[in-house]
Subunit: 459 residues, 2 copies
């Protein structure tokens, strides 16, 4: 039996214990964006650091200006080094009433189709995913006493809240963290049977706007139509963001957005993406974006503007005929190719100001930004990882795009000069950022086995 075979057998035998270790992490409500969970985030970081230390890593939860960052090194092996990135923080759970169980009391459930899933906030994004890598390391250490390649691990606690502390941390510790290759497990499979390596990621620019009109809420009878209504001003701004063809109307928004090469377009068409199933799975039927674009283009290679949250005036039970003094929205832009997040932010602010009545005010709050990123698949590590994944799953693993933003992938490339292999085992129906988030038990198990193979392939 080869080392790898022994490691894979160990992984299979150790599944119940691996699941229990994941559950322990999922029980910690490490919601980074909500200050009420500050202590939980710290506790989560400490728990992961302690686990890595027990595995032979030199590991610590390092303080930052925000939530701690776990850094661990086990670089005893020879060869080209890797830096694995994940995040231990999770999204808020609201609306809580839509969950079928308490979001921080994980359990394995069996779905109608027989699939077993781990149900909890963070099951897929990202605790279940990063634990596939840690469990693979654990198996290598248990079976051979060592890792096949030099491994560093960095686990962030602010990925879901814009990573405010990360740039300074990378600046301060870049030399220590830098490796020959980055590994990230925060992406999805092509489908439930087919793994994939994501080689293109959209960037992100988030902005919160607060529109202020009158100095207080007004009675809509006494002031109705004579006084500026902050809801009206905001609705106009948000509606104006898209034209009738679904294009974003902010001047200069599409600067640096080329058409994709014909070769890539052909490769994507060959994937035979089932848009009816993609939208049908979430109760929709009609692609809502730019007229004439395929759904894969929309989510992989086209930029977006989405209103993630908005609110103003009376939202409680019953009715209240106020003219609200204030209305707010959280707007995010998914960016592609060479779009500059700060240019987009500035252009959006100008766009808002241009629609502001002269007696109203606006306040802007930036929330994170990251450029889009694409990796050079000619790097032989990509082929090695692709073969390892294909062997585990019995199907060729394609190179794909992804609509989501993983700013750290751009940081690894641009700040630390590393190419990054983005291989994750999430599925489209995992419900990340939604109620009832889940991670398929098969993805967890085969994900661990996949990383065990990738580590061997990189050696």
């Amino acid at each position: 039996m080869s080392d790898l075979e022994a490691v894979l057998a160990h992984i299979d035998a150790d599944q119940p214990a691996a699941l229990e270790r994941l559950f322990a992490l999922l029980r910690i409500p490490s919601i980074s964006t909500d200050p009420a969970y500050l202590a939980d985030c710290a506790r989560c970081a400490e728990a992961v650091a302690a686990d890595l230390a027990a595995l032979g890593f030199e590991a610590a939860a390092r303080p930052t200006t925000g939530h701690p960052i776990v850094v661990a090194h086990n670089r005893a092996a020879p060869g080209r080094s890797v830096l694995f990135y994940g995040h231990y923080d999770v999204q808020p759970v609201d609306p809580p009433e839509l969950w079928n169980r308490p979001p921080f009391e994980p359990a394995v459930e069996t779905l109608a189709d027989g699939a077993k899933v781990i149900r909890a906030r963070g099951a897929a994004d990202d605790k279940g995913q990063f634990m596939t890598f840690i469990e693979a390391c654990r198996a290598w250490v248990a079976v051979t006493g060592a890792l096949p390649v030099p491994v560093s691990i960095m686990l962030e606690g602010e990925e879901e809240s814009g990573s405010p502390s990360l740039p300074a941390f990378l600046e301060a510790h870049g030399d220590e963290l830098k490796a020959d290759l980055g590994l990230i497990c925060d992406t999805g499979m092509w489908d439930a049977e087919t793994p994939a390596i994501t080689t293109m990621l959209r960037g992100l620019c988030g902005e919160e706007i607060v529109i202020r009109g009158a100095s207080r809420d007004l009675h809509s009878g006494m002031y109705g139509s004579a006084a500026a209504n902050a809801n009206h001003v905001l609705a106009r701004i948000l509606a104006d963001l898209h034209d009738a063809d679904g294009r974003v109307t902010i001047p200069g928004f599409y600067d640096g957005v080329p058409e994709i090469p014909e070769s890539l377009r052909a490769q994507w068409e060959a994937l035979d993406f089932d848009v009816a199933a993609f939208l049908g799975g979430v109760g929709l039927a009609v692609p809502a974006g730019e007229t004439g674009r395929s759904a894969l283009e929309m989510i992989w290679s086209r930029p977006t503007a989405e209103v993630n949250g908005m609110g103003g005036g009376y939202q409680g039970a019953g009715f209240k005929t106020v003219i609200p003094a204030e209305a707010r929205a959280k707007v995010s832009f998914r960016l592609v190719f060479d779009q500059d997040p700060e240019k987009i932010r500035a252009a959006f602010r100008d766009f808002v100001r241009a629609r502001l009545p002269e007696d109203c005010e606006v306040e802007f709050h930036p929330h994170g930004n990251g450029r889009a990123v694409a990796f050079d698949t000619a790097n032989p590590a990509f082929g090695a990882a692709q073969r390892a994944l294909s062997e585990e799953w019995g199907r060729p693993a394609p190179f794909i795009g992804a609509g989501g933003s993983i700013p750290i992938a751009g940081d690894f490339k641009n700040r630390l000069g590393m190419d990054v292999i983005l291989a994750g085992f999430g599925l489209d129906d995992d419900g990340i950022h939604s109620p009832n988030e889940k991670y398929n038990l098969a993805c967890f198990h085969k994900g661990i086995r996949s990383w065990a193979r990738v580590l061997a392939a990189l050696a």
Copy 2:
């Protein structure tokens, strides 16, 4: 000393006790729209009924399908009868953090300009106002042992939540309630020194809409732009409500909306309304409504569409990049002249449906409706009341319009065949429906004296 002079002297001497009686009512958080305050509404109704019974009225808090309605009769006097209407329920207090004191712990505060005000939710709308009438009755009974005219009183508990129980109640008890003249104290003065009788009121039609897109909140990276965003659909609908000239775009909306007669326009122009002060008082400067209309027209004789509340997606602290499955808005229309509330409601629903992507759904929830109403000032009671008010305040009391809706005034006219004298002592800066609602102590005191005079004038 005439009876009236003795009554006015009694009112002056009894002010501290009258204030304490009002405070006792203001301490009851009778928020009708929020089920959490059900018992408080009942308690408030019982307290008022008990007070009226002690004054010699045959009084009871009568059950309805919603909150009780207080009905009281003291019809011993000869002459033309009156039915006084008020409401003991109040608006919600949110946002509570903007109050300068607990909203249900009333106190007299002295403003920077030296004016003394009663600060509490309901101080002006409507507890302070209806107590001016009850205190006037109390003084007449105390001094003369009787009321100058037959008086009935009806105090509703659902005015702030669309009066759902009122139509059936009026249907069942119309014969009992009907009088020769209606009196309502839920309107404002022209300014702090000048009383007024409101002879035109706008109607109201409220509608809550719920837009549903995907079956759950989606990740804006995975689905961004390909999936319908309920916030976008809602913002488009709400923005489309008005054109660039501030006109409401719903087809048929202006049916039954004539220009006001030149004579009325001239009268309104003579009032020399200070629009800069009106808007400046609430931190605004630019009339926001229809281009080319005066502010008085906008609030008295033109219909409006206002978005009183809207919300969708993540509104908590921080950022969450979701595509919301659901977004909602509360929209109300102020109606004038012959606009039909149910026609407007139907036209609005068609307007919404016409803007709905085919894979989205909409749910409608109606919230109250009432036609606009205008009274015939040739009725001699109007002249008598106008003279009584002018004597108390030392200034002529004009007949004015009002932007607010008091559906009961239309019911009194259309169902019970009564003209209604709308005389109230509210001021524009009372902040009704807003945080820090107040009622000027002088308005309370002179309001009581005013009603004492009006009762004498009607005898």
